[in-house]
Amino acid sequence: MGIRTLVAMLLVTILVTGLLATRETYSVFVPGLLEGAVLTLQIAILGCMLALVAAVLAALGKMYGPTPVRWLANTYIEIFRGTSALVQLFWLFFVLPQFGLRLEAFPVAVIGLGLNVGAYGAEVVRGAITAVARGQWEAAIALNMSRSQMLRRIILPQAFIAMIPPWGNLFIELLKSTALVSLITLNDLAFKAQQLNQTTMKTIPIFTLVLLMYLAMSLAFTIGMRLLERRAARGLARGRFA
C-alpha cells in the first residue's frame, strides 16, 4: 500500500476514534485504555531496540564468529524461532525464577519479545549482508581494509538500507505481540481491555476502541518506517538491492 493510503487510513482511524470518544458509552473507557496503550508503546519501543541489537550480534556471530560463537548464535536463533513467543514469555516469567533469576514482568516482556523478534531479525540482517554486491567486498579488500573495517565502513551501512522494509514488518509483529504481555500480568492495552470488560461487560465499545488503538499504532509505525526507507534510499544508485 502506498504511503498516502496509509496516512489516509491513519487519519480515518484517529477520526473514528475521536468521534466515538465523544459518546458517553465510549468516552468512559478512553483514559484507562490510553494508559494501557502507553505501556504497550513503551514495551514495543524498548523491545525493538533490543531486537535490533540482538539481531545484528546474532547475524555477525553466525556469519563471522569463531565456531563456539557461531554455534551459540545458531542455537539462539533456532530456539527463539522454533518455539512460541507466549511459551518464551511464560518460561522467562515462571521457570527462570526456579533457576534463581527472578525478573519483574516488565523486563521479562521487553527481553522476551525483543529476543524473539531479534531471532527473526538475525536472518534479515544476514540476508541483507549477503545481498550487498560482491564488488563492494572486493573493493574493500583491494583497499587493504581489515574485516571489521570492511563491515563497519562499507558493508553494514549499505546492508542497513536493504534491511529497513523487512524490519518494518518485524516491528509491526513485535507491536502486535505486545498483547501477549497481558498474560504475564502486565497492565498493557490488552490487559486493560480484559479488565474493563470483566468489570463492566460493555464488550462492544471496549474492544472496538482497543482494535482502533492498535490499528493507529501499527499504521503510525508503518508510516514511520516508510519515511525512513525513503530518507535512507536518497542518493543511492537505483535497483542496487533488487
Binding site: 500500500m1 487510513m9 533456532e78 530456539i79 524461532r81 522454533g82 518455539t83 512460541s84 513467543a85 507466549l86 511459551v87 518464551q88 511464560f90 518460561w91 515462571f94 521457570v95 526456579q98 533457576f99 509491526i172 502486535k176 505481540s177 505486545t178 498483547a179 501477549l180 497481558s182 498474560l183 490488552a190 481491555a193 480484559q194 470488560n197 464488550t203 462492544i204 474492544f207 482497543v210 482494535l211 492498535y214 490499528l215 501499527s218 499504521l219 508503518t222
Partner: protein, 219 residues
C-alpha cells in the same frame, strides 16, 4: 532439585492429549485460512473495482493483534447473537487472521502469472471459471506452497494464545499443572521442547517440498 524426571514422565501423557487439541486447532485453523485466503485473493482479482474494501479488511486484520481478535470473537460476537465455545472461537480467529496473510501470498502467486497466459485463455475462448481452474491456478499455486507452509508453522506457534480464553490446549494444560503443583519448570519446558521439535521437523519438510516443487513445476 531443579528438574524432576519422575514428575516430567508423569505429566507427559496428559500433555500428549493436550497436544492433540493443539494440532487439531492448527489444522482446522489453517484449512480455514487457506480457503478463505484463496477466496479473498480471487475476489480481489475478479472485481478489481471493488477490491479496496477487501484490501482494507486485510490491512485491518494484519495490523491488530491476534489476541485481541480472539477476544473480539469470543466476547463481542455473543452481543451480535453469535455464541461460540472457546475452541471454536479460537480456531475461527486463527483462521481469519491467517487468511489475511494467506490472501497476500496467493496474490503474489497470481501476480507472477504472465499476462500472455490470460490473453491465450481469452484467445482460446475459455470461460473465466475454466481459465482459473485449468490455466491460472495450476501455475499460480505450486510456487507459493512453501510460503503457505511457513504460515502453517507460524499459525501452529500462535495456538498457545488460545489459552487466554481457557481452551485446554498445551499451554493452558501446562499452566494448570504449574498452578496445581507450583512446579512450572517441567511442564513449560516440555511444551517449549514440543514446539521446537515440531517446528524443526516442519521446517525440514517445507524445505524438501520446496525442492520437489522446483523440480516439477518451475523451469
Amino acid at each position: 532439585m531443579i528438574w524432576d524426571w519422575a514428575y516430567a514422565f508423569e505429566i507427559i501423557p496428559q500433555l500428549a492429549w493436550a497436544a492433540v487439541v493443539t494440532i487439531e486447532a492448527t489444522f482446522i485453523g489453517f484449512l480455514i485460512a487457506a480457503t478463505l485466503g484463496l477466496v479473498l485473493a480471487l475476489l480481489r482479482i475478479a472485481f478489481p473495482r471493488t477490491a479496496w474494501p477487501i484490501s482494507m479488511a486485510v490491512e485491518l486484520i494484519r495490523s491488530t493483534p491476534l489476541l485481541i481478535q480472539i477476544f473480539f470473537i469470543y466476547f463481542v460476537f455473543p452481543s451480535f447473537g453469535i455464541v461460540l465455545d472457546a475452541l471454536t472461537a479460537g480456531i475461527l480467529a486463527l483462521g481469519i487472521h491467517y487468511a489475511a496473510y494467506c490472501s497476500e501470498v496467493y496474490r503474489a502467486g497470481f501476480d507472477n502469472i504472465h499476462r500472455g497466459q490470460w490473453e491465450a485463455a481469452i484467445a482460446l475462448n475459455l470461460g473465466s471459471w475454466t481459465t482459473f481452474r485449468d490455466v491460472i491456478i495450476p501455475q499460480a499455486i505450486p510456487p507459493v506452497i512453501p510460503a503457505l507452509g511457513n504460515y502453517l508453522v507460524a499459525l501452529f506457534k500462535e495456538t498457545p494464545l488460545l489459552s487466554a480464553i481457557a481452551v485446554l490446549e498445551l499451554m493452558q494444560t501446562a499452566k494448570i499443572m504449574g498452578s496445581e503443583t507450583f512446579r512450572y519448570t517441567e511442564p513449560i519446558t516440555l511444551v517449549g521442547l514440543f514446539f521446537l521439535a515440531m517446528s524443526l521437523i516442519s521446517a525440514a519438510l517445507i524445505r524438501s517440498v520446496e525442492k520437489a516443487i522446483k523440480r516439477r513445476f518451475i523451469r
